[in-house]
Symmetry: C2
Subunit: 294 residues, 2 copies
């Protein structure tokens, strides 16, 4: 099976998730999950990255020469072109670490890097909820808000590798991320109820029919629709993919989001643009990373 | 000079401006300008389009076989793929008119179409204030707000040919076009002074030091910066080009726009993204249209 295997590493601030797939997106073994422990010394963290790759190779029974390439989705900011980690707050010991070069030297295979949010949406586009589509935008809704732009089935990174970095965009008296984020959900709930809860708690409360939680998600949907409308009016994609932990509350924020979203985009996209949730789950990140090596 | 000439037609609601250029963007004769008279019968309007092309050919001394192609920038909405005018409010007698096919049959040369705002920014990117750049976004600020996206030196139109149609994007209690447009400038001035003036008048008043007019442009700059921030955060272009009649008031709205714009985009683009005014003037439209045939 020489050169047929793609390795993908989802290298986040809390965990390293590494897997292997074929060029058709077929995952060939259970992925390997290790903690990042981002405060450790560089050699320890990178040791866990290579240990996860070695374990995946062992599981698949593949040799290095069976690997077409290794893709890495790394928590940002990173320098994609030069394959370096930048001043990433979640990897404080790895600032300016030449990750691509080190992994290439270790395995003798081509290594590709992109940021983890881009990889997640890339994986979904090629092998998940965006299968068959060319132009897609995706939002990763978690602690903050990420946005990935896929044009012609490639991740579009722009001039300074900042395309899709919508978090500082102006909204009301601040930025869109003030409200479209996990802490934004908590902020809305606090304003409505006076209580402090995490987005996850507010999701559980909504399941139980709590009126403050339901009102929170209804309002969140309207704020999210603002980011989606601007992005869709600019890119005019076939679909918007919603991923990240907060997208799991879709049934609570989806209706208000859809209503406001369709009213603030052009007539033809309003009829045609799909809104779908990510469906590859935790695997999307390493699948999208592996796809960088396609 | 067989196949060396490009003809460009800027086909707007009020005028038809047609010119000829070389593949290097060199304009080879004075353009020909005719009124559109959009309410006339189709054959009369199209007769003026072909009369303008014929006159340009006569001026250059070129034969049909010298023409590599004809590009047409048409006031929208249009069906780019099929070369048809759609339900364009400025060309009420030409709804669903197969413009590309008719001009191709008449001249026996390849005809390319795009909307006029896209052509203006395309011309500026290739031969005006965006020379040498690959990724650019441009705003045409006139009666309304248009936005064109240039990726890899091509006009990016998206899935339903609506990419860059930012006018319905949510802003405050309405849409961005409520304030970022000629009528938006008038609206701001009316709120500040209680008087009704056109954007052009308000520009003249600003020249004279009128405080209401200066405050109007200062405020307009902040609203414009919102559209620019969202677009730059999504596309991360090398430059933003500002065109259209309202861009001529740049010296009045530029400082407040720049200030707010740089604060609402990511740090690297905030340092690197250029903001420039269109510089080809009235010729940009036909130059960009001609460039479609490159």
């Amino acid at each position: 099976m020489t050169g047929e295997l793609l390795i993908g590493v989802d290298f986040g601030g809390t965990k390293i998730l590494t897997g292997a797939m074929t060029a058709d997106g077929e995952v060939v073994c259970d992925p390997v999950k290790l903690p990042t422990n981002g405060g450790d010394a560089p050699e320890k963290i990178i040791g866990r990255v290579t240990a996860s790759i070695d374990e995946v190779l062992a599981k698949t029974g593949a040799e290095r020469e069976d690997v077409a390439g290794i893709g890495m989705g790394v928590t940002g900011p990173i320098d994609i072109r030069n394959g370096r980690i930048l001043e990433c707050p979640q990897l404080p010991t790895l600032h300016f670490y030449p990750l691509k070069k080190m992994i290439e030297e270790r395995y003798g295979r081509p290594v590709h890097m992109n940021n983890d949010a881009n990889c997640l949406i890339y994986g979904e586009t090629l092998f998940g909820s965006g299968v068959g589509m060319k132009n897609v935008v995706g939002f990763t809704l978690g602690t903050g808000v990420g946005c990935a732009i896929i044009i012609d089935r490639n991740i579009f990174v722009g001039n300074t590798e900042s395309a899709g970095e919508i978090w500082p965009s102006p909204y009301r008296d601040g930025t869109i991320e003030d409200l479209v984020s996990g802490s934004g959900v908590s902020k809305i709930y606090r304003r409505i109820t006076g209580c402090d809860k995490t987005a996850r708690d507010i999701s559980v409360l909504a399941e139980q029919g709590d009126s403050g939680a339901l009102a929170t998600w209804e309002e969140f949907g309207r704020h999210l629709s603002v980011a989606m409308s601007w992005t869709v009016n600019i890119i005019d994609p076939e679909a918007v993919i919603l991923g990240g932990s907060i997208s799991e509350a879709f049934k609570f924020f989806g209706p208000s989001m859809e209503d406001h979203f369709r009213k603030h985009i052009c007539p033809t996209p309003a009829r045609q643009t799909k809104v779908v949730c990510a469906k590859l789950g935790a695997n999307a990140g390493f699948i999208g990373a592996a796809a960088l090596a396609l």
